[in-house]
Amino acid sequence: MSEAAAHGNQARLSSLLKSQEGIVLVLAVLAFVLFSLLLPSFFSPGNILALIRSVSILGILALGMALVVIARGIDVSMIATMVVSVSWAFVIARSGYSLEFALLVGALFAVVAGVLIGVLIAFGEVAPIFATLAAGSVIYGLGRTFFFTLEMQNVPPDAGWFSLIGQGRILGVPVTVVVFGVLCLALHLVLSRTRFGWQTYAMGNNPGAARITGISNRPMIVAQYAISALIAYGAGLVLASSASAINARLFNSTMIYDILLVVVLGGIGLNGGHGKVRNVILGTIFVGILLNGMTIMNIPYTIQNLVKGVVLLLAIVIDSLVNPRDEQTSQQGDL
């Protein structure tokens, strides 16, 4: 190898390490290589598909979250929207309506919930974290009180095509993974090719400047939360279809934290304006590799959580060591 090439490689490596994304990428590759060498059944097409599949629902939810986070928001009500809209759709279907109609009602509910949350944030000027925190509680309480009593809702009987979403395969690839892929592509196109996408970045970078340059921030915020709610609904359908049931108790679980971690780990900062779909994919796959490897090693669930946490912590610590923040340039009220 010539000296220049070596130098170039070094430069590339150091620039790679300059971002959270790069660090996570390196860690992901490391983990992948390590598991492939150490675990005999890890590096097989079947397992890798299973790996992606196992995290694709997390990935889909993370896509919705990413959109909101890029616009300097946060949506912790996604799980509530997901379980309530899907469960309600199932209840409607079981009470004699056609499944298609029921699913439409579910989608409508999700969109209405998203719009209301957006209105609360855009027009009520409530901090997104609190607005969505409270909205999650309200949506869940509403659903459990008025729409369905039982937390566990099975997929209605005789739903042939519906179970294909979660359990079918297209050219050997699970439909779940295909759905994740298609949504990734769609969101990528929206973010990079449409006015809506550009304006989303502008809002995330500097909401004040965005408003002055003529972007209607408020309708944009409403739209973003509606989309994230709709994506949550989609994720819920995939989830319900692949597990044959949906459990409203997911709302009480730490799943929303997992989604946030995927987004942040992939390199999308919570202060908005940055991040692409590839960051979501990276974060998702990294978490997938870790979880899958540890499951194959039969590491107990609790220790898996610990390992996951420590690796995440490492990633953000390395990021802060490589890119230290400056007292003079950091933003006030930046959590």
Partner: protein
């Protein structure tokens, strides 16, 4: 439906009988003093149910059965719903101790959290019945499944299918719920009691799913990738194991992997047995538990003894439901109980 028909028929018969009696006789019968005291003693008493959470088949089922008896015998029946939070549960229990109802029906989140408070409640003169999930404190009564027995039955069933030469292999996977819950602790003990006698059975995976079907699905999927020749799987709760089952179905191994799970005998669980998702469904029969619970409530409210004086317990019988015997009689829906 059938129950309703029977009742109707009975009612008609009664009316006819009553007609005959009034028409023919002067005899006004004897007052049964025991019946009067029975009703008088129970009337106006206060019973409080403290479940893990409302909103799932078990607690909704018990509550429906208990509410019916309360209505019939005219005592107060209230539910304090802590919604899966042990902390809210302990707070509710603490406030109950100062409120002093006549009887508490407690559903323990684990074997220790309520232990001390239940003892305090009894010391304060409140009678306590524990349902299905015990705590370390033994109280006036416990009604529910014997989790060790469920574990043993499940393990035995898997052993029967997966002993060397019988199944695809001798590999077995176990999906637990929350590792600290009472049902898990005792059930695992039962499972390993049997498995230890059969050293040839190999446990290849034991993971906690947090009662989450999606997590159960993804764990089972990975296990099947790793062990395509898996022979048996034991799940801890039917609600979570719909996920386990769908992973098995997807892998096309529905015939190869023998899935055992347990639950309250809800119709949805039975549907899954019919569909072939569950191979063996050990039911602890919620309506039956509810009736036993009712009998215990009445007995304790009538008894003059102080709280904690006599401690009894009753492990109710289990029903093994398979495709062969699944029917209307051993499955229930919430509407049946209301």
């Amino acid at each position: 439906m059938r129950l309703l028909k029977t009742t109707k028929w009975l009612a008609a018969a009664c009316i006819a009988l009553a007609g005959i009696v009034t028409a023919s006789a002067q005899d006004k019968g004897l007052e049964n003093p025991r019946s009067t005291t029975f009703r008088k003693t129970l009337e106006g008493k206060k019973v409080v149910f403290l479940p893990l959470s409302m909103g799932f088949d078990l607690t909704e089922g018990w509550a429906a059965v208990m509410r019916q008896q309360a209505k019939r015998l005219k005592y107060d029946f209230e539910i304090r719903d802590p919604a899966w939070s042990t902390d809210a549960g302990t707070r509710a229990l603490q406030s109950l101790i100062s409120e002093k109802p006549d009887l508490i029906v407690a559903h323990n989140p684990d074997i220790q959290s309520y232990a001390r408070l239940l003892a305090q409640a009894q010391a304060a003169g409140i009678k306590v019945v524990q349902i299905n999930l015990e705590s370390n404190t033994q109280t006036d009564s416990y009604v529910g499944a014997d989790w060790t027995e469920i574990g043993e039955q499940a393990a035995q069933a898997v052993v029967d299918k997966c002993s060397p030469g019988k199944g695809a292999s001798t590999k077995v996977a176990i999906d637990t719920g929350v590792p600290t819950a009472a049902s898990d602790v005792f059930q695992l003990d039962g499972i390993y009691r049997v498995l230890n006698q059969h050293p040839d059975i190999q446990v290849v995976s034991q993971q906690a799913t947090e009662y989450n079907p999606e997590k159960a699905r993804s764990i089972m999927e990975t296990v099947l990738q790793q062990h395509p020749d898996l022979c048996g799987a034991i799940g801890i709760w039917d609600n979570q194991d719909t996920g386990t089952a769908s992973a098995i179905q997807q892998a096309g191994k529905g015939d190869q992997v023998f899935l055992v799970t347990s639950g309250g005998g809800n119709k949805v669980g039975c549907e899954n047995v019919e569909k072939g998702l569950f191979n063996l469904y050990i039911s602890y029969n919620v309506p039956l538990q509810g009736e036993i619970l009712n009998a215990e409530i009445a007995r304790l409210l009538l008894s003059d003894g102080t709280a904690g004086e006599n401690k009894t317990l009753y492990f109710n019988p289990l029903t093994q439901i398979t495709k062969a015997n699944v029917n209307q009689r051993n499955c229930w829906t919430l509407d049946d109980l209301k």
